[in-house]
Chain length 222, copies 2
Amino acid sequence: MASPTPIKTSTLADSVFDQIRTAIVKGELPPGSKINEPQLSKQYGISRGPLREAIRRLEGCKLVDITPNIGANVVSLNLEQAIEIYEIRESLEGLACRLAAKQTNTQDCLKLRRLLSHHEQQIQSENGLLYYQKEGDLDFHYLIVRLSGNTRLFNLLCGELYHLLRLYRTQTSSGPSRPEIAFKQHHQIVDALESQDGELAELLMKRHISSAKKLLIKQFNQ
Amino acid sequence: MASPTPIKTSTLADSVFDQIRTAIVKGELPPGSKINEPQLSKQYGISRGPLREAIRRLEGCKLVDITPNIGANVVSLNLEQAIEIYEIRESLEGLACRLAAKQTNTQDCLKLRRLLSHHEQQIQSENGLLYYQKEGDLDFHYLIVRLSGNTRLFNLLCGELYHLLRLYRTQTSSGPSRPEIAFKQHHQIVDALESQDGELAELLMKRHISSAKKLLIKQFNQ
DNA sequence: TATCTCTATATTGTCAACAATAATATTGAT
DNA sequence: ATCAATATTATTGTTGACAATATAGAGATA
């Protein structure tokens, strides 16, 4: 027999954790904003028990700060903290490239190329440009980090740090908009991966992220 | 007037989170072991509510895995996962050294030297050797990461990754015992920091951790 | 003896009520 | 009118009870 019933799969705390995290990352719950338990529990139609569990889990993920007897707030990053994350990213994505170069086959590289050309198509239209800035760039990085084969590295970068950076961007409403340059850099990175040159790929990726970091600082100063 | 009363400072969930985390890191709650809510709530003298919040926070920190309707287990690392963490450590502590080199003053270096010589004294006795293996080595790394000035880097390494690695060690009861070699490497690193040579310090630290990683693998294979 | 089913027990998930603390509004005095 | 003290409200912290699910055990059958 088939399995028609979707089988109540996860717990309320889990489901609401996902929803709140998405809301935070999307900016619906802005950085610094207060997490109001009665309100959210009403909004999601659950009691405060599992809601508090979800909030505690978010605390563990460093997406909210909890002050005893006062409550939880969505974390808010200043420039300094964003830079700290960029420094970590630079190091870790460099590592990801070095690891990825050891094991990417031609098919993986093809995938990367297709991704890039798809982005280049998207970027033609105004909408596309927005799309690229907001999401497309990350796709590329996601894929490379996944190709590194290091699962924890993937979870750390794609499951935590990217979220936090997106938080900063919604805060300052500033995205790294330098598509042409980024494109060139992206292609160079794939070139290096294709020729199995891990050291070069690492170097290029570090530069790529470092230039994004510099742009961030520049945008802040004007 | 002074502030004599310690003022009930934190919540039950916070306090029990600390206690459980310590128990996990110390190995009192072994990797893979089940977290039994009724038992722990009785043991800590609290109800299941705040206990579950603490567990959820541990889940966010990736120290326990929760399966719906079944419960939480202390995470358990296999060699492959330990290696993944070492790869990340190598990259991040290299970064820490590079950053630290830019801003360590003579006093910081003095502190590092004192720490090392203190370790060398401790190591004379059998007890000392144990001490060194278990804690001393980390002191050195802690201090350097703190000198990097990158707060998030510090929290990531010293507040998460080290904990996980310690978990693996309690699991396999194998510590990286190569004090003499490590000592030499440590001193070389301080030398590099002293001469403000960030690149060299980074290189040496990466090597240092890489050799620890190789030892880990070797220990596993016999 | 081994395996399966059914029952009993234990554990997890959820909720609503109460207690403690913080935030807000009100009152009164200067 | 402004500030301080007080009363009121809202929010957080904690608990115990109940429901749903999973685990363990006893008994029956092959």
